[in-house]
Amino acid sequence: MELYAFHLMPYPNIDPKVREKYSSAWVVYPNSEYDPVLGQHLYDEYLDQLTFADQIGFDAVVVNEHHQNAYGLMPSPNIMASALIGRTTNAKIAILGNGIALRDNPLRVAEEVAMLDVMSGGRVLSGFVRGIGAEYHSMGLDPTRSRSRFFEAHDLIVKAWTEPGPFSWDGENYQFRYVNVWPRPLQQPHPPIFVPSQGSAETLRWAAQHRYPLACTFVPMERLKQFYDQYRQYASEDFGYEAGPEQFGFTSIVYVHPDGEEAAAAELEPHIKYFKERAFTLPLPTFFPPGYTAAESYKTRIEIARELASSGGPTLTAGEPLIGSPEQVGERLERNLAACGAGTLMAQFQVGDMPHDKVMRSMELFGSEVMPFLSKNKVTS
């Protein structure tokens, strides 16, 4: 079992009176609402939280890329990764991931991740994402090219990391006379690549083909099982190997409280509400702009949007809620991983506008009581 500490670094002061004038906290929510003085304070706290995760034994700390929104303040995950390298000693730095299709020059990603890998002594996990639809609005990029750009940028970056330069690249989307990336990554043949997925068959098959672990964010347990089963099936039937639990990871909100589930849920509830209602809401045309997926996938999105509307919004916990006493959280965490055959839990401690002291108290309990519980079971299992 691997435990990653996942963070979105949200903006916690979204004013509901301002927010209600806009369809979303993404793309159109005005940046005049961002207070940079508060922003500095937030970065300090959020980095402290991830640094603490390293100290209490998390296997990795997770950063990610989103643009022009109050949902997550990390448009450049590599800058956060760089800050974390100096503060952490053992944990991997998981960048889940760089939006490689969003760059007009994907070699910049190859360069930066190689730098981070060298600087960290080989502690980088390199996720690659296409970027959700909102990013295409924010970056002024044609979503109909997003898949093609994603696959080509991936091929280019991996080649730049693994084959001697200079070589030339003449692709559909990217052309370079000289590809000769300095520095090269420390890990050989390259930092491990992770792929977040919303479960499209094409992405699942492609990830299975390359043996890239799937990292799923806010996917309910039933769909996780479907995605993982599909991946395992591609692996065994098309690519001749059995996919193990180390190839599957997912996010879950974690909140540990000494008084158990009821007390934990009551304390967590306003922050979940803030997160869902003010930060996370994505209108369909923002989330899935025209051309971002094939027509068939869009129909599936309509179905999912209708399901979510009737069930009260996105699921932030896959399986049993990891909310409660240390023992409850530990047992459920193990059961959730076992239920879908996953090996990695990406725990999100900070949610929405949850203040630093609450986050730290929950993390401290996780470190002092859940971690020993899990490692004891690790030995016996």
């Binding site: 793309v27 990029l141 051309g291 027509a295 949007a305």
Partner: protein, 255 residues
């Protein structure tokens, strides 16, 4: 009333709706799932042999890989005119179809008798035009025409198939105009369009201001007409008035 003919072209096969008798007229349709044979086509077919092709990547088709800009469609349609042996047809376009017609006239005006542009787009605007790609689908339709029923294409409460059809058309439109909803070369090259051109815009157009359509007419040396009680898609909102304009424009070409 009409048939569908399939024509093999170097780019890809064209699906062409065909009906009516008279001089040849090519009608280039608008966006958001509005390519089907309509009252306007029927009106046109009373006086013309109408050829109404479905643009590549529209009418339920996925965006083709070869399509990069509007000029790709001009060359696609030049091939179509030649394959169908159309002798200097009148070309009528609406919205995105009018942009294609304007570009076709820039490149191949000698092959055309005249061009009528209803609510043309593709010109750089001094003020940003509404962003159709971030709107909910019912709102998209409200910006395009008064006569379209937006509630039908609401993904949450309407018909998922219809919503997907509008969305798929918008996808190909995104390929053509996501980055820029205009072609900077259009203004530079407008004077190459040497055939007679007319621009008509709906009086209640919400997508492009009337100054925009007038500027279009000015650049192309075209006459300009405003159509009452019509939004951006004039042939949908006022099929009879739009067809009457086509007839009167054609009459001036015969003189």
């Amino acid at each position: 009333m009409h048939e569908i003919i399939e024509v093999e072209l170097p780019s890809q096969p064209a699906r062409v709706q065909h009906g009516g008798e008279g001089p040849p007229l090519v009608f280039l349709h608008s966006e958001a799932n509005t390519s089907a044979w309509s009252d306007f086509h029927d009106e046109l077919a009373e006086n013309f042999e109408v050829f109404a092709p479905i643009h590549p990547g529209f009418g339920g088709e996925e965006t083709p890989d070869w399509l990069t800009d509007v000029s790709d469609l001009s060359f696609h349609y030049k091939d179509l005119l030649q394959d169908l042996n159309l002798d200097r047809p009148l070309v009528v376009g609406t919205s995105i179809g009018a942009w294609i017609a304007a570009d076709l006239a820039i490149h191949f005006s000698a092959l055309l008798k005249g061009v009528l542009l209803f609510g043309p787009i593709g010109l750089r605007s001094s003020e940003p035009l509404p962003d159709l790609f971030i709107m909910e689908l019912p709102e998209v339709l409200s910006y395009l025409a008064n006569s379209l029923d937006g509630s039908q294409v609401d993904p949450m409460t309407g018909d998922a198939e219809l919503a997907t059809a509008v969305w798929t058309d918008l996808a190909t439109q995104a390929r053509l105009m996501w980055k820029r909803n205009y072609d900077p070369r259009l203004a530079l090259r407008a004077h190459h369009a040497q055939c007679p051109i007319m621009v008509a815009a709906g009086h209640e157009d919400r997508l492009t201001p009337s100054a925009y359509a007038k500027r279009y007419a000015e650049l192309f040396g075209a006459s300009f007409t405003s159509v009452d009680e019509a939004g951006h898609l004039v042939p949908l909102d006022q099929p009879a008035a739009a067809a009457a304009l086509v007839n009167s424009f054609y009459a001036t070409l015969e003189k």
